[in-house]
Symmetry: C2
Subunit: 430 residues, 2 copies
C-alpha cells in the first residue's frame, strides 16, 4: 500500500471544515477511488480554539498560512482562505514555487491572477486544481475542460450565484421586493452581512471569467466582464416576466463569435421552457454549447460546506491518481488571446417597463423616440387604466443594439410623462 | 513536439464516422487540449467502398477488426462495432491482452463483460475507457467516477434511452398512441427498424448496470436489472398523468440502501416539478445523489454521431494526457460485491387505471381487493359517467409493496366488471 497523500489545509471556515469532514466521513471510499488514503496532516487558521465540528488534534498547526507551503511533510496544499490578494495569494504562489500541488476553491484568485499562477504551475510541472471555484459541487470545470474537450464551444451560460438565485426565486414565489428577500436570505445564511460581492454580480463575474477562459482557450480576463447585479430588479418586473412567458435570472453569459469573445453578467429574461428557467433557489446551473455535443446542462448546489468539500476532494483524488490537466485546459503557449467584444456592441431584444402618466399622447412620444433610434417593437402592453395617474407600460423590442437602446432610454427617461427611471432587462433567447 | 497519438478505429457506422469527423474538424483544438495530435492511422469495417462522409484514403485497412489489435503502428484501439459478443468482444480482448489502450462506445459489451474486461485492463495496466457508452455526449461517467468521487452516492436515476424519450414526448405532445409514435420515430431515424433493444428497455438497462457499478463500486451486474419497456404505455395514461401533475418517463433507477442495491428500468410517473420531467425528445439526463454534493443533474444529447463522437474523443484526449482512471472507479480488489434487492421487495406508490363497467358496486369491489392486500388509497378519480358502459377509473395508492400489488392486480383483473388488463405505472417521488 502506498503511503497516504498528506494534505495541508489553510483556512478552516465553511470550506476548509467541509473538506475535513468529507475526508473523514468517506475515508474508505475515497482511498479506494484515489488508490491511496488521503490524510490531513497540517492546518493553518486564525483561531486555534474555535469549534468547527472537526477535530484538529494531532495536526501540525501554523499561524502563518504561507509557512504551510514549506512543511516537508505536506504533499498537497488546499487553500480555503479566500480573497484575490493577501495570504491566499501568497500561499498559492509559495506552494507552486516550491513545486507543491495546490487545490483551491478561490474564484477571486483564479479570475484575477489565474494566468500568472497557471504559468508558475506549468513551469514547475505541478497541478493547480480549482473545481470548487465554480458552481460548487457541480463538476463544471471537469466537464468543460475534459468531458467536452473535443468540442469548439460557442457559448457557456450559467446561474453562478446561489445567493442571487435564491433572492430572485423568493421574490417570484412570495411576491417580495429585493430588500425583503435579501434580508430573509441573510437570516437563513444564504447571503452575507455585506452582500455586495453576491448581489452586485462580482462573484458571478469571477466564475464567468474562469468558464470563458476554459471554454475558449484564452487567458482569463476578469476585467473584461460586463457586470450588473440584481438590486434593480423589482417584484413587478418579475410578475410581468411571468405573464410574458419568461423568468428573470442573473446569468453569466460567455460567447465566442466572429468578432471575439463577449462576457457579461446581468439580470436576464429567460424563456420559461428553457431548462435553466427551472433552476431555482440556491441551485446553480451551467449550460455549455459545443459544435458536436450540442447543448449540455449541468445543475446542482453551488455553495455550502458539503458541495464545496465534494469538489475539493475530487481534485485531491485526481492528484492522488496522477491525473493532471493544464490549468486552462491547454499549455500556456497554446492559449490564444482573443479580442473582447465590448458591451456597447451587444445586441438583442429588450424588455422595458415604464411608469407613465395615463394620458393621451404618452405612448406616441415613447414609441417615437424608439423609432428615432431604429428600434422596432414586438409588443406593447399597458397594464390597467387610471386616467391621469401612473400606469405601467411594458414594451418588448425586436433585436436592437445596446448603444441605440442606451441613447433612446436617456431620452425616454427625460419625458415629462415618464415618472420613474425605466426598468430595462435584456431578453436572452438561449 | 511529441509524435501524434495513432488511433485504429474498428467499425465505421454512425459512431466510427462521427469520431473521424470530430478528429478532423477540431484537430487544432484537440491537439492543444491533448498536448499532441491525435491521428487515425488504421481502420476496419465491412465495406471498403461505402461513402461515409469521411475519407479513409491513406489509412491502413483491415477486413478483420481483430487484426487491428496487432498493428504495431496503432497506439489506441477505438471499438465502434457494437454488440456484446462477436468481433467487438474479440477485438477489445485482443487489444487489452496486447497491452493496448481501448476506447469503446459499447454499452452491451461493458454491461455484460465489463468485469472481466476491467480485470484484464488492470492486469495489463492499460486504460479501457467508455464515456460514450452511457448518455452519449453527456460526460456522465466522468462526472460520477471522478467529479463526484468524494461522495457516497445513494441513488442514480436516468433518462437513458433517447428513442423511448422521443416516443413518450411525442405521445404526450401530439396525443398519439405508442405504435404511431414509434412509426414516426423510425421515419425520422430516431428508432431502428427492429426497435426491441430500445423500446423494451434493454439498452437503458445496459446503461443503468454500468452507472450502478460506477456509483456504488460493485462489479457490474446486468443480469440483476429489472427491465420493463414502454410498449404498454397508452396515450390515455399520459394524459391522466398530466392531470395528476406527473410526466411519464422511462427511467433507469439504481439505489443503494441498507439491504443492498436495486436496479430497475420501467415507465415511471415523475412529479412535473422535478428537473427530469422537462427533459424531452431525444435528450437524456442523469441525476446523481451524493451525501455531500446533494443532487446533481446532467442533461444533453444521448445519441447521434456528434455527441457520441464527442465522448469518444474526450476519452482519447484523456489517454493522450496520461489521465487514467480504473474502469469501475477503483481497483478490482476494492470493489465490493453487494447484495441485489429483487424487484419483489420494491415498494412505492402506484398509479392504476382500470376500464370498468359504470355500474354500482364496481368501485367497492376494487377497493375491497386493495384493502384485503393492505393497500391504502391516496386518491380515486372516475373520469366521466356513462351508465353500463366502459369508464376509466384512476387509483393512486400510498406506498405499498410490489408483491401485494401484484397479488391485488391479479384479483382485480379477474373481476367481471373490469374490461381490460389494468394499466399500472409506478410513481417515483425522486
Amino acid at each position: 500500500m502506498t503511503r497516504p497523500l498528506a494534505i495541508g489545509i489553510a483556512g478552516l471556515g465553511t470550506v476548509g471544515a467541509g473538506v475535513m469532514t468529507v475526508l473523514r466521513d468517506n475515508a474508505d471510499l475515497i482511498s479506494a477511488r484515489a488508490g491511496r488514503a488521503i490524510a490531513v496532516t497540517a492546518v493553518s487558521a486564525r483561531d486555534r480554539t474555535r469549534d468547527r465540528g472537526v477535530s484538529v488534534a494531532g495536526l501540525r498547526w501554523y499561524d502563518d498560512p504561507v509557512a504551510l507551503a514549506a512543511d516537508p511533510g505536506v504533499d498537497v496544499i488546499v487553500e480555503c482562505i479566500g480573497g484575490s490578494e493577501g495570504p491566499a495569494r501568497a500561499l498559492v504562489e509559495a506552494a507552486l514555487a516550491a513545486g507543491r500541488p495546490v487545490v483551491t476553491a478561490n474564484k477571486a484568485l483564479m479570475a484575477t491572477h489565474g494566468a500568472a499562477l497557471a504559468a508558475l504551475a506549468e513551469q514547475r510541472g505541478v497541478p493547480l486544481a480549482f473545481e470548487a471555484a465554480v458552481a460548487g459541487g457541480i463538476p463544471a470545470i471537469k466537464a468543460i475542460r475534459e468531458g467536452l474537450a473535443a468540442n469548439r464551444l460557442s457559448r457557456v451560460t450559467g446561474i453562478l450565484n446561489g445567493t442571487c438565485n435564491y433572492i430572485l426565486t423568493s421574490m417570484r414565489e412570495k411576491g417580495r421586493e429585493f430588500a425583503e428577500a435579501l434580508a430573509e436570505a441573510q437570516r437563513l445564511g444564504y447571503a452575507e452581512a455585506d452582500p455586495a460581492m453576491d448581489v452586485d454580480g462580482t462573484d458571478a463575474a469571477h466564475k464567468l471569467a474562469i468558464l470563458a477562459a476554459l471554454a475558449f482557450g484564452r487567458p482569463v480576463a476578469f476585467g473584461d466582464v460586463h457586470v450588473e447585479g440584481i438590486r434593480g430588479v423589482s417584484a413587478l418586473d418579475i410578475r410581468l416576466a411571468d405573464d410574458l412567458g419568461y423568468r428573470i435570472k442573473l446569468l453569466g453569459i460567455a460567447r465566442c463569435g466572429e468578432n471575439g469573445i463577449s462576457t457579461r453578467v446581468h439580470p436576464c429574461m429567460v424563456p420559461a421552457a428553457h431548462p435553466i428557467a427551472h433552476v431555482d433557489g440556491v441551485f446553480n446551473a451551467v449550460v455549455a454549447e459545443g459544435d458536436f455535443v450540442g447543448r449540455v446542462v449541468l445543475e446542482g448546489r453551488g455553495a455550502g460546506a458539503g458541495p464545496t468539500g465534494s469538489a475539493v476532494v475530487a481534485d485531491l483524488i485526481d492528484i492522488a491518481r496522477g491525473r493532471h490537466t493544464p490549468v486552462w485546459g491547454a499549455a500556456e503557449a497554446a492559449l490564444q488571446p482573443v479580442a473582447t467584444v465590448p458591451m456597447s456592441a451587444h445586441s438583442g431584444p429588450y424588455y422595458l417597463r415604464l411608469m407613465v402618466v395615463d394620458r393621451p399622447g404618452v405612448i406616441a412620444d415613447v414609441t417615437g423616440v424608439l423609432r428615432d433610434h431604429g428600434i422596432s417593437l414586438e409588443s406593447m402592453i399597458q397594464r390597467g387604466r387610471s386616467p391621469a395617474e401612473a400606469v405601467a407600460v411594458v414594451l418588448v423590442t425586436h433585436e436592437c443594439g445596446e448603444a441605440a437602446m442606451s441613447a433612446a432610454l436617456e431620452r425616454i427617461a427625460a419625458l415629462d410623462a415618464v415618472l420613474e427611471p425605466p426598468a430595462v432587462i435584456r431578453i436572452e433567447s438561449l
